[in-house]
Amino acid sequence: MSLLELQGVSKRFGGLTANQDVSFSIEAGEIAGLIGPNGAGKTTAFNCIAGFYPPSAGTITLNGKTISGLPPEACARAGVGRTFQVARTFTSMTASENVMTAAMLKDRKVGSARETALRLLAFVNLDAFADKPAASMTISEQRRLAVARALAIQPMLLLMDEVMAGLNPSEVREMVAVVLKIRDQGIACLIVEHVLEGIMPIADKIVVLDRGIKIADGTPAEVSRDPAVISAYLGDEA
C-alpha cells in the first residue's frame, strides 16, 4: 500500500475541468515532483489532497484512509502538511510562535511547543529568527518558516507549493537542502514546481500534468525523455 494514492480524481469548477481522471501514488519517504505547464491543474490537485476542495470524482487515500472530502484541518490531523504559494505566515507572531501554533496540534502545552519550535527552526536554519517578527523576514526566509510550521504537525506527507519560485540560485540550494533533510526524516514530499533545476535532481518520481490530465509518471530521467512531456512544454512556449 502506498502512502498517498489518487484514484481517478477529477475536479470541476462550474464549466471548467481543472483535473480530469488523475491517478498516481507516492510511497513513504519519497520525494515526488508535480510539474506541468501553466494551467495544468497542479495547484488544484494539491488543494484536493490538502482538503481545500473536495474532488468532483475519485478518491484520495493516505495510508489506506480516505481523506478526499475531509476539510483541511482534518487532513492536517490525518498527516498532510502543506505550504502555500504565498507563505502566509502569521504576521502578528514571531517565527517561533508561528511554529509553536502548529506544534500545539500534537501537544497543547506552550513550554514543550516552544522546544519543538526551536528545534524545527534550527532544522531549517532559521534559529536566529526565533524571537523576531515573522513579518520582518524576507520571502525566502518566510517560505522556510512555513515549511518549519508545516513540519510541526508531524506530517507523513508534506505538500509544497512552488517553494522555489522567485528565489535566487543560492536560496534554491538552501531550500533543496531542507527538502533532502525532510526526506531523511522519513517524511514524503510532494512538490509542485516550475523551477525544474531545483526539483529534477532530487526527485524520486515526477508526475506531469497538462491541461488537467496526467501525461507522464516516472523517474526524472524517464519523464525528461518522454515526447509527450517535451511537446507539452515546448508547445506552451511556442
Binding site: 490538502a50 482538503g51 481545500f52 476539510p71 483541511p72 484541518e73 492536517a76 490531523r77 502538511g81 502543506r82 502555500f84 502566509r88 505566515t89 502569521f90 504576521t91 502578528s92 507572531m93 510562535e97 509553536m100 501554533t101 502548529a102 500545539m104 496540534l105 497543547r108 502545552k109 506552550v110 511547543a113 512555513a146 510550521r149 508545516a150 510541526a152 504537525i153
Partner: protein, 337 residues
Amino acid sequence: MKRALPWLIAIVTAVVLLVLPQALDATHLNIVILVLMAAQLGVAWNVLGGYAGQVSLGHAAFYGLGAYTSTLLAMKFGINPWLGMLAGGAVAALLSFGFGWSCFRLKGHYFAMATIAVAEIVQIVFTNWDYAGSAVGLTLPMDKEGWAVMVFPDKAPYYWLALGLLVLTLLATLAVERSYLGYYLRAIKDEPDAARSIGIDIGRYKQVALVLSAFFTALGGSLYAQKELYIDPGSVLSTALSIKMALVSILGGVGTLLGPVIGSVVLTLIEEFTRTLFGGSGRGTDTIIYAALIVVIAVFYPTGLIGWYRERVRRIKARKAGAKRDDAAAIKQEVLL
C-alpha cells in the same frame, strides 16, 4: 532599574485602586465605576473582536440578555442576583452558540452586519415582550440591601464589584492569551487558511472565543442592572452600546490585554471633558469628538493607542542604536527608518 519599572507601576496602580473609594466623592467615584464597567465590556469584546478578529457590532445583545435574565429571575422568582448573574452569562453563552453556528462562515463585513441584525432583533423582541416589561422596562426591588442581594445605597461596594469583575475578565483573557487558545485565535485572525492547514478547526475556536466574550459581557449587563436598579431596551440593548464596547478596544488597541482599559479611560475622559466644556450632551459635541476620534484612529492608528506607543518606542530604540555607530552609518539608519 528598567526591569523594576512595570512592577513599580503595578504596585502604584494597586495602591491607588485600593484608596480611591475613600479619596473620591460620590460623583467622581461614579465616573471611575463607569470607566471600570466600560473597560470590562471592552475586554470581553476584545476576546472575540481583537484576538480572534471577528468584529461584532451587536454585542449589546449579550449585555441585555445578562441584564434581563438576572433581573427577571430576581423579580419573578426571587432568585439571588449572584446566581442570576451566572444564569445570565449562561443564557448569553447559549445564544452565542446559535449565533456562531449560523454566522461564523461569514467573512468580515457580512459577519459585522449579521451581528447588527441579531442585536436589532433581540431589541425588537424585548421592546414588545410584556413579561419583560416591553418598552417601559423593569425596576428592581429596593426593599433589601447588602451583599446577599447585591443592592447598595452608596457607591463604594459597586466600585469593588466593578473592579472585581474587570480583574476577573482580565485574568480570563490573560489565561486565554497565554494558552494554546490564544495562539490559535491569533492564527485564525492572521491567516485562516494557513490555520486550517495546521489542524485548527476555525469554526470551533471562534465559537469558544464568542462564548467567553458573550459570557463576560452578560455579567457586565447584570452588574449594570444591579447598580441602576432599572433597565429597559434603550439602556441595555441599544446599538450605541454595541458601538461603545467595540470602540473602547479599537481606541486602546485591539488584541492587547490592557488596550480596552486605556481606551475606556480616554473615552470617559473625553465624554466628561466635553460635557463640562459644552454643557449637557444635548448638543452632542462629545459624540462629534469621539466619532472624529474613531475615524482618525481607524485610518491612521489601526493598532490603537498601545500600538502607536509601541511603534514610537521601537523607533526611538532603533534611532538610539543607530546613534552609537559613526555618522555615516547613523545617517543611513535614519534614511532607512
